[in-house]
């Protein structure tokens, strides 16, 4: 089977800092790959190369076995890559619907943005993802951390992604909502999406992922099937930067 995504030998430096030091990763359809590592290990930077937020210095990205150039977020969206950023990347002054459709607004026949239709669609998807969400007509700055996170999740899920990048998607969520995100990930996996999941919680990662990759100081320590290792093994990789 060809992988959905192959990232080969990716490198990226900021000034003198090697944020990504020749890392290779792959992802298969219907698979969840966890990315673990200390703060500053390079997890966010790595997935940002795939989402078009950063341009890698060297390396290659293949989708369905075909080399692709991703130089900006539009390129990534065109490849059906959707991202939930760690910072959420929401325009605080706009409402949920405007954020959900930002950059791909629904328009009327005359070419004007169709706020009513976008709100209706947003209500539809939120009813599925977060039935307690009712604040459709206020700027997202007026929402709680969890509500904002659910807007970011809805945006990533709405547009029929094939590849989903989730950078700490549960950081602002309580236990109940975290469980809901877990169920969502399982459902998307059944729909054959490939998911990169960055998380701090080793326990969650072991539960939700098929494989885990551990990074340290911009380098890939290793990638393991979760069935082959224990949480302690992974912890060892994170701390020591060595395979068990």
């Amino acid at each position: 089977m060809t992988p959905l995504v192959e990232m080969r030998d990716i490198a990226l430096s900021f000034g003198g800092v090697k944020a990504i030091d020749h890392v290779s990763l792959d992802l298969y359809p219907g698979e969840v790959v966890g990315l673990l590592g200390h703060n500053g290990a390079g997890k966010s930077t790595l997935v940002k190369c795939l989402s078009g937020a950063y341009r890698m210095d060297s390396g290659q990205i293949l989708i369905d076995g075909q080399p692709v150039t991703i130089t900006n977020p539009r390129d990534a969206r065109a490849q059906n890559i959707e991202t939930i950023y760690q910072t959420l990347a929401l325009a605080d002054n706009l409402d949920a619907a405007s954020n959900l459709f930002l950059g791909r607004e629904l328009v009327t026949a005359a070419g004007f943005v169709d706020d009513d239709r976008m709100e209706a669609e947003t209500r539809r998807i939120m009813a599925r993802l977060n039935p307690n969400f009712h604040k459709f007509n206020v700027p997202v700055s007026a929402l709680s951390g969890g509500q904002r996170q659910s807007v970011a999740i809805a945006r990533a899920v709405y547009f029929n992604a094939r590849i989903l990048i989730m950078d700490e998607p549960t950081a602002a969520l309580g236990p109940h909502e975290t469980r809901m995100v877990g169920e969502l990930i399982a459902e998307l996996k059944r729909q054959n999406l490939g998911i990169f999941l960055i998380s701090h919680d080793i326990h969650d990662v072991m539960d939700l992922c098929d494989r885990v990759s551990v990074m340290k100081n911009g380098k890939l320590v290793g990638t393991e099937r979760v069935t082959d290792v224990t949480e302690d093994d992974i912890l060892g990789m994170i701390i020591l930067g060595k395979k068990p």
């Binding site: 937020a53 990347a89 791909r104 004007f112």
Partner: protein
């Protein structure tokens, strides 16, 4: 994700039911208060058709540019060069009218193509200079403050150089129609315009309501919709009635009739009606509001202002967006130059001097936040009107010029302070 149900449980306030912007109400309240105070202090000369007519004409130029400044400030930029850019556009348009058309092309004075060509030339120059500013800011990442501070000096003196510092005039008679009192559409046409405006506004309100209801969203109660419609219709028609009530002086009418070879009939009167410059402002206000709220471009302006990084991550080309915003600002400077120079009937060197400050102040008093992401077109226009009312009112009361500027400057600072308090209370600012 657990939020208590909003609405329904508490009785809504009247402004809530009418879905009125409380900040807008505050501004209108301040404006009305200013007008009433001056009305009393001037022996009831402030709120007369004549003075209101003059106020709207005086406001037009700054208000036109203020609508563009909203987009500039919303995206966390500033444009200090608008007054100078206005001068360049005015100089170019004046050159077309007094030199290119009559002399260079030998078409004489008052050729029908002169005014349109002059305006096109002004628009091209304004848009090009604005786009150039936007390119320096967006692509070369030079701060807008610096680019336009430089532009303030550069363009003011380019205008001076173009005209060798001379006053150019008189401008084309057709062109002068954009200046205010010399170009009004008369009473009947004003009523027609007013009636059309009412019809279109009510139609838009009705279809918007229908569309919302069609999606099953909550709409305001029918009576509230009716009240809003009555207010809108009343404001539009009231405005037309006031401007129509300003009568053309008898001496002037006599001259008009004499020019036609007729004599003025006994007891004949005529109102000025809506000035073309004010119609231009209204058209721009409507167009800019539609752009801000109903187009992708407008959505991206506000998104970029709210969170530039998020906008970029959503695939918005924020560099190109910056170019477009400043190009639009430049085009509005050109239109403003049409109104300002037509009103003066000539191009003078100092045209638009200090306008950058008035325009920025109008946008800011109108609720545009320098921190980005927040601002409205109607707010900026109301801001321009408040500033002009203060200035004119003080002049009528006999306040000396330095004191006028002291007051206007203080009001700007006070308005922003009140705005900050308001936003803190309403939770928009933390």
């Amino acid at each position: 994700m657990t939020d208590t149900a909003t609405g329904g449980t508490t009785r809504k306030s009247l402004t809530g039911t009418l879905q009125l912007d409380t900040r807008l109400l505050g501004m209108i309240g301040a404006f009305v208060a200013i007008c009433l105070v001056f009305h009393l202090m001037t022996g009831q000369r402030f709120l007369t058709p004549r003075n209101i007519f003059t106020l709207t004409i005086q406001t037009a130029s700054v208000a036109i540019m203020a609508t563009g400044m909203v987009f500039v400030i919303v995206t966390r930029h500033i444009d200090l060069s608008v007054g100078s850019l206005l001068a360049v556009c005015s100089a170019v348009m004046a050159l077309v009218q007094v030199w290119v058309m009559p002399q260079l092309l030998g078409l004489g004075i008052g050729h029908p193509a002169t005014a349109p060509l002059a305006i096109v030339a002004g628009l091209v120059v304004g848009t090009a200079v604005g786009a150039f500013n936007g390119w320096l800011i967006g692509y070369l990442t030079i701060p807008s403050f610096i680019v336009t501070l430089g532009g303030l000096l550069v363009w003011r003196n380019v205008a001076w150089y173009l005209t060798s510092g001379q006053t150019l005039g008189p401008l084309d008679p057709n062109f002068q129609l954009f200046g205010g009192i010399n170009g009004t559409i008369g009473v009947t046409a004003s009523w027609v315009v007013g009636a059309l405006a009412v019809a279109v506004s009510l139609w838009f309100m009705a279809t918007a309501r229908q569309k919302k209801a069609g999606h099953g969203f909550a709409v305001k109660p029918l009576w509230a919709e009716g009240v809003m419609m009555a207010i809108v219709a009343g404001l539009i028609l009231g405005f037309v009635a006031i401007l129509n009530a300003y009568q053309v002086p008898v001496a002037r009418l006599e001259r008009i009739f004499a020019a036609r070879g007729e004599t003025l009939p006994e007891g004949y009167t005529e109102g000025y009606g809506l000035p073309i410059s004010v119609l231009v402002l209204i058209a721009i206000a409507v167009a800019m509001t539609v752009v801000a709220r109903r187009t992708r471009f407008g959505r991206y302006v506000f998104a970029t202002g709210g969170n530039p990084e998020a906008a970029a991550l959503s695939g918005i080309n924020t560099k190109l967006l910056t170019v477009k915003i400043f190009a639009l600002m430049g085009a509005l400077c050109a239109l403003s130059a049409v109104v300002a120079s037509a009103r003066a009937a000539n191009h003078a060197n100092d045209i638009g001097t200090l306008d950058e400050l008035r325009v920025i102040a109008a946008a800011v008093i109108g609720g545009t936040a320098l921190s980005g992401g927040v601002g409205t077109i109607y707010g900026a226009i109301l801001g321009a009107l408040i500033m002009q009312s203060l200035q004119s009112g003080m002049a009528m009361v006999g306040v000396e010029s330095p004191f006028q500027n002291i007051v206007v400057g203080s009001v700007l600072v006070l308005a922003v302070f009140i705005d900050i308090l308001y936003r803190k209370r309403s939770g928009a600012l933390k």
